[in-house]
């Protein structure tokens, strides 16, 4: 038994889906969060069924990927449909509902977000007009869930007859919704703020403030967690315990070094992922989740559109970039709702090239803040500059046409703490399960290679490049080798190398522009093709060494 959850974008389908199935589907307050559809099992009474969260669409005209997915699902003969209407934008959802009714499937409707209108939507009228059951709900507050569940029960028991196809033109949608609709009230304070934030003045100063504050929040909270909580715990209790235990069992030699030496497996596999990276994963994703759920991001997209036009993109492409500061994998996935393939490749390439992932950012902060706090903003500004320059070049090379922006700006909402916590937990859990283990394995391999002298041999081979051209110590070849596997490993080994300011900056630039990690290469190959992935490898490799080397060479002439 399969039930589809259908509705326009940003109407709360994913929240409803989570409430009904208990699965953690990802949601945010910007249109088009669900690019892929999600399935989950749920039950009403003792009947089990599969609920499918269909990507939100404005229309069923197959004009983009999300719409094609929705149409394909509707044609797959589901047992029933739960259609989610937007209480605030009743007319547009009504039009889509009429289109869905044309399919002649058993359908029930839910008017969601009914807390955002003052008064009650006339569900009885809609129900009478369309001949389908209609209820209201507030998914974020779990209101109306029982009614929805009982409707789903009716669907499963075959109590809802197939819908009667009828005209689906705009006039009909306007007629029904205008009679069922309650008038919108006065703007409240948060709405007025929402509107101010998207006016150039004071919107742009606010945007700069928000970005700086976000950066400060991520760095500050991350550092705080690391210094106050995690490091004291590790250095005070965990590491002495491990070292004591190991020295008790193993005598001096290679094995001891592998376990607790320079690249000691037992120390580094805990310290790097959990001590250096995890705090920033927590602080970054907390900040990003707040931005997502508040509905601020579409405003940022609108404000920045003029700038993005210069590189042939539209402001809404800022979402993959922001996600990229977390991890390039979801960032590349999120480019799926860009229709132009070349533009997808362009955005993905820019993210791979010049946006550091949160793990690498955490590593940058740990590395650079100790030498000079100014190096931290310097490297992030450099990353923005590099992204823009690279974008200009790509626009020329790939012959990108300008993207036209049509974007809904949803209302500003106060993020729901419960949902916020859930989202943060999903992302942290993802890092713990998919990030920590590969990192630990690679550190272990590196430890073995290092202690057996293999890394040193390879380092000597790369000496002309690393020492001559980049001006780094010979052992800096190690992070470049490890960086193939994880991006932050291009930075972390530098921590113990005692580098000068110039060396730190050069090494950071190379690490920033250096090849994306192996997971990203895999995603590139999967989303595009092997050739694109290979191009990415070559381009990032060449550019990183070229730019890093130039910086060192020029600086050493001047200084």
């Amino acid at each position: 038994m399969e039930v589809l959850l259908i509705g326009p974008p940003n109407v709360g389908k994913s929240v409803l889906f989570n409430r009904l199935t208990g699965i953690d589907v990802f949601m945010a307050n910007y249109p088009g969060t669900t690019v892929d559809y999600k399935r989950g099992h749920a039950s009403v009474g003792d009947r089990r069924y599969t609920l499918v969260d269909v990507p939100g669409t404005y229309d069923l005209e197959a004009s983009n990927e999300a719409e094609r997915v929705a149409i394909r699902m509707l044609e797959g003969k589901p047992s029933g449909i739960v259609f989610v209407l937007d209480a605030k934008n009743l007319e547009a959802s009504m039009h889509l509902l009429l289109q869905v009714l044309e399919k002649g499937l058993p359908t029930v409707a839910v008017v969601n977000r009914s807390d955002l209108v003052r008064g009650k939507v006339d569900t009885a009228f809609i129900s009478q007009e369309l001949g389908i059951p209609v209820v209201t709900s507030i998914a974020t507050q779990s209101q109306g869930l029982d009614e929805i569940k009982s409707l789903v029960g009716d669907l499963l028991e075959g109590k809802v007859s197939p819908s009667v196809p009828r005209s689906s033109d705009w006039r009909e949608a306007e007629r029904i919704s205008s009679q069922a609709k309650v008038p919108l009230g006065e703007m409240d304070r948060i709405e007025r703020w929402g509107e101010l934030m998207v006016r150039p003045i004071p919107g742009i100063p606010i945007a700069i403030l928000v970005m700086v504050a976000t950066f400060g929040f991520v760095v500050g909270l991350g550092m705080g967690l690391r210094q106050m909580v995690i490091l004291p715990l590790f250095r005070g209790h965990l590491f002495p315990f491990i070292e004591g235990a190991v020295t008790g069992v193993v005598s001096d030699g290679v094995l001891l070094n592998i376990l607790i030496g320079d690249y000691g497996v037992l120390i580094k596999t805990i310290e790097w992922p959990l001590g250096l990276v995890l705090p920033y994963i927590i602080s970054f994703y907390l900040a990003l989740s707040i931005l997502e759920d508040s509905g601020y991001l579409p405003r940022l997209a609108v404000l920045i559109d003029g700038l993005f036009r210069r590189i042939g993109l539209s402001g809404s492409h800022i979402i993959p970039f922001l996600l990229g500061y977390g991890c390039a994998v979801p960032a590349i996935m999120s480019t799926r709702n860009i229709n132009d393939r070349r533009k997808r490749i362009m955005v993905s390439a820019m993210v791979c090239m010049s946006v550091p992932c949160v793990a690498q950012s955490g590593a940058f902060i740990s590395l650079l803040a100790e030498a000079s706090i100014w190096l931290v903003p310097a490297i992030f500004l450099f990353s923005l500059l590099a992204a823009f320059t690279f974008g200009m070049v790509l626009k020329r090379v790939m012959g990108i046409n300008r993207e036209v922006m049509i974007q809904e700006v949803p209302d500003l909402l106060l993020p729901d703490l419960n949902i916020l916590g859930k989202k943060l937990w999903i992302r942290v859990r993802h890092f713990l399960s998919d990030g920590v283990l590969p990192m630990a394995v690679i550190i272990a391999v590196a430890a073995v290679l290092y202690e057996t002298g293999v890394l040193i041999v390879i380092g000597e081979m790369m000496e002309p490049l690393v020492v001559g051209w980049l001006g780094l110590p010979a052992e800096a070849a190690t992070p470049l080798l490890l960086g193939v596997f994880r991006r932050e490993l291009t930075v972390l080994p530098l921590l113990d190398m005692d580098l000068s300011m110039l060396q730190l900056f050069t090494a950071s630039v190379v690490a920033l522009l250096y090849i994306p990690c192996i997971a990203v290469i895999g995603v590139l190959a999967k989303e595009f093709d092997l050739r694109t992935a290979a191009y990415m490898l070559i381009v990032t490799m060449v550019v990183s060494f070229a730019v890093g080397g130039l910086i060192y060479q020029i600086a050493s002439i001047i200084l």
Binding site: P8, Y58, D59, E61, S63, K88, N89, E91, A92, H95, L96, W170, L184, E195, V198, R199, P200, I204, P298, A301, V302, L303, I304, D305, G306, L307, R309, R310, S314, G315, V404, M405, I406, Q407, E408, V409
Partner: protein, 291 residues
């Protein structure tokens, strides 16, 4: 290629007379301005004998500028236009004729007309090009679809006003205003003082082009569109692009739309329909017409 010179007595006017002619309406002109205009004229004269230089200037700088002006004015092949003050080097006329328009160039200096005829004879174009010696203030513009008033024409404002008065509804007058220091010497003709709608095109250096539209009240656009709607004002949509997303977001004929603001650097326009805020690219906003 239709080249015709309807000038009379080309040769029997000398420089002193030419100065008298240009000074007919020049009571309020400054000495510096006269000096500059005469210098400009000399330069044009020289360049008109060096076709390569004129060609280069036209191709790199002037051609694109004119194309922009013609595009904003909505002129097409076959449009009938008048160029006032075409001078010794009638680049405006030649370029417009190259775009396939039917062009009449007038200048009050017969000498300029004769060298213009000479220069134009060596240029090929697909439209019609005609030269007359006549003062812009006396010309009858009623049959023209658009009138270009050259930068050095003086006094400019009466001619601009006459052209606007003569032409039918929707007729366009294009002239250029100097910016910065130049504006101090030349003075500007403020478009808002002339009873016509206008649109400003900002060029990289020196000048702004102004396209005036006869008897239209819109300030920014030549048609009444979402783009021309003033910030904070409401309008009813007459027609728009057949885009399903736009329609779903409420941009449909018959809907009342409010323009909230525009974003910098050519970013989108923010509109509000039924309490829903939508950012719409300027290129699209221009195609959404209002009742």
């Amino acid at each position: 290629m239709g080249l015709r010179a309807t000038t009379s007595d080309l040769s029997d006017m000398n420089d002193t007379q030419f100065n008298e002619v240009t000074q007919n309406h020049g009571s309020e002109r400054s000495g510096l301005m006269v000096l500059m205009q005469n210098g400009y004229k000399r330069m044009e004269m020289t360049v008109s004998r060096l076709p390569l230089l004129g060609n280069l200037y036209g191709r790199i700088f002037y051609g694109p500028l004119l194309r922009r002006e013609a595009k904003v004015a909505g002129l097409e092949e076959g449009s009938k236009v008048v160029v006032v003050g075409s001078g010794h080097l009638p680049l405006t006329g030649i370029h417009l004729a190259k775009q396939g328009m039917r062009v009449t160039c007038i200048d009050n200096d017969p000498e300029a007309t004769s060298s213009a005829v000479r220069y134009a004879a060596r240029r090929s174009h697909s439209g019609e090009l005609e030269f007359m010696t006549e003062d812009g203030i006396h010309h009858d513009y009623s049959e023209a679809e658009a009138v270009w008033v050259a930068f050095n024409v003086s006094p400019k404002e009466p001619i601009v006003r006459k052209a606007v008065d003569d032409m039918e509804t929707g007729g366009k007058v294009i002239y250029r205003n100097p910016r910065g220091l130049l504006a101090k010497v030349y003075g500007v003709v403020s478009p808002s003082e002339i009873p016509a709608g206008h649109r400003r095109i900002r060029h990289l250096v020196g000048k702004d082009s102004l396209v005036l539209v006869n008897r239209l009240e819109c300030d920014h656009c030549l048609r009444k569109t979402l783009c021309s709607l003033e910030e904070g004002c409401e309008g009813v949509i007459a027609a728009g692009p057949e885009d399903p997303v736009l329609r779903a977001l409420g941009i449909r004929p018959g809907k009342t739309v409010r323009s909230l603001c525009r974003q910098p650097l050519g970013g989108p326009l923010l509109a509000c329909v039924d309490g829903r805020k939508v950012a719409i690219d300027m290129d699209i906003a221009r195609t959404i017409t209002l009742v």
